[in-house]
């Protein structure tokens, strides 16, 4: 269905807020209902457009965090203090409010259960969003494809979707966290930036030819993809999605 949509015009659609969830002190998930949503594939994004009373408009792109689920769509937004769009989305929107969006966009950084695995998902901060769509789709489809998630966050309270990931862990999904800035007193997990040694320990090995998806800030995606190539993973098996600090 998403493919068919891409062959036509991606028109702006009204999206109504149905729920606002606090994920971490800086991160919210906003659930929308989009009446004519054509569906999406896990990993795709949408463009969001806000309009001020004076007619000024701003557009930004956000990955879809939810698995395909009828007309519902979840976007996870990090509030960037001096940003223009993210503080409005994260702080101002309430159930019943409406914004405009269009999509789904992108067909490269996607995964669907028939593609199989093994999967290696590497997320930095809110880069988890499109990977979470894949993890949620995998669970909803009852897939037991070998999936390793290596998730880098600043601290324990900054882990987005932490409880849901704990619930989903198992059935072939292995969730591994690294906490790069601060760790709880009893923390025994990784406490450093993702590096080649960590990627090798989390696996799968290059010999298993995993499908690799890396999403995070540009320096994170650069360092992780470089380390993966260094370990022997085929560059063409590594899909990256990067975002800069100016996303606002």
């Amino acid at each position: 269905m998403a493919r068919a949509a891409l062959s036509g015009r991606l028109t702006w659609q009204l999206a109504e807020v149905v729920d606002v969830l606090t994920e971490t002190p800086r991160v919210k998930t906003i659930a929308f209902d989009v009446a004519d949503w054509v569906g999406h594939r896990a990993g795709q994004h949408v463009d969001v457009r806000l309009t001020a009373e004076d007619g000024y408009q701003a557009e930004r792109s956000y990955s879809i965090a939810s698995a395909p689920n009828g007309t519902r769509l979840d976007l996870t937004v990090v509030r960037i203090a001096d940003g223009e769009v993210s503080p409005y989305l994260a702080d101002e929107l309430k159930p019943g409010d409406r914004i405009e969006l269009r999509g789904p966009v992108g067909g490269y950084f996607v995964w669907e259960p028939p593609q199989g695995g093994p999967l290696l998902l590497v997320a930095g901060g809110s880069g988890i969003a499109p990977l979470m769509a894949m993890i949620r789709l995998r669970a909803a489809a009852g897939s037991d494809v070998d999936t390793r998630l290596l998730f880098s966050s600043h601290g324990w309270d900054d882990i987005i979707y932490r409880e849901e990931l704990e619930r989903l862990n198992g059935n072939g999904l292995t969730v591994v966290h690294t906490l790069t800035s601060s760790q709880p007193p009893d923390w025994t997990g990784y406490a450093r930036l993702v590096d080649a040694e960590m990627l090798a320990e989390v696996g799968p090995s290059p010999a298993e030819r995993p499908r690799v998806y890396v999403c995070g800030p540009t320096p994170f995606a650069e360092a992780v993809s470089e380390a993966l190539v260094h370990l022997g993973h085929a560059p063409r098996g590594i899909k990256t999605e990067r975002f800069g600090p100016t996303g606002g």
Binding site: L6, S7, G8, R9, L10, W12, L14, D47, R49, L50, T51, A52, E53, D54, Y56, Q57, A58, E59, R60, S61, D82, G83, E84, Y88, E92, D97, R98, I99, E100, V105, G106, G107, Y108, F109, T218, E222, S225, E226, L228, V229, P235, R236, I238, K239, T240, R242, F243, G244, P245, T246, G248
Partner: protein, 201 residues
């Protein structure tokens, strides 16, 4: 008619002449990076630039010969489909006009191809007459790998995904053949002033 989002207002005062910013774009001082895969690192001694396809004789320049070609310094604004624009960027490179003088062809299109497998398609009329370059310096320094070095296309009047990073050559074609992002739903032409982001725009 777009609904008004009450409480939303412009936060960033326009720090640039609005007539230089295409619709839906915002100006950034940074140089964000967008790539679909790992950054290739091709040693200069293995690097060459090739023009092939619908040409009488393909031509290829090793790095030393390529940077000895007549070059130009270009100061221009660039616009990425992910919404950022960057003004007054300065590049040095070889004009595509100069490169095409080396071949005989009746082709009307070309595909720029890159290390790592990236491709993007262009009409000849979009890359001739001083509209496109193969750039190897940015801001007076060698182009960094994450921004497409050793060399990338520079086609500032189209969205920046058309300015292929890590470019290694041009394949001239008689028909227009969609490239990487163009087959994933992005616009075939990509004019930022017409906001041609996605198919159908």
């Amino acid at each position: 008619m777009s609904p008004i989002n009450r409480g939303f207002h412009r936060r960033r005062q326009p720090d640039a002449d609005p007539s230089r910013v295409p619709p839906g774009q915002y100006v950034t001082g940074d140089f964000p990076v967008l790539s679909a895969g790992p950054t290739p690192h091709t040693p200069l001694e293995e690097w060459s630039f090739t023009i092939r396809g619908a040409v009488e004789e393909p031509v290829s320049w090793p790095w030393e010969e390529f940077v000895a070609l007549p070059s130009e310094t270009i100061t221009t604004d660039i616009h990425c489909v992910t919404k950022w624009s960057k003004l007054d960027t300065t590049w040095k490179g070889v004009s595509v006009d100069t490169l095409l003088e080396a071949v005989q062809s009746k082709a009307g299109y070309l595909t720029a191809w890159s290390d790592g497998g990236y491709t993007t398609n262009l009409a000849l009329e979009d890359v001739t007459d001083g509209q496109a370059w193969v750039a190897y310096e940015f801001g007076g320094a060698p182009l960094e790998p994450e921004h497409g070095g050793p060399a990338r296309m520079l086609i500032p009047h189209l969205y920046f995904w058309k300015s292929a990073k890590w470019v290694r050559g041009l394949t001239l074609t008689l028909d227009d053949e969609p490239g990487f992002w163009e087959t994933y739903g992005y616009h075939n032409h990509g004019d930022p002033w017409l906001e041609q982001r996605y198919q159908g725009d």
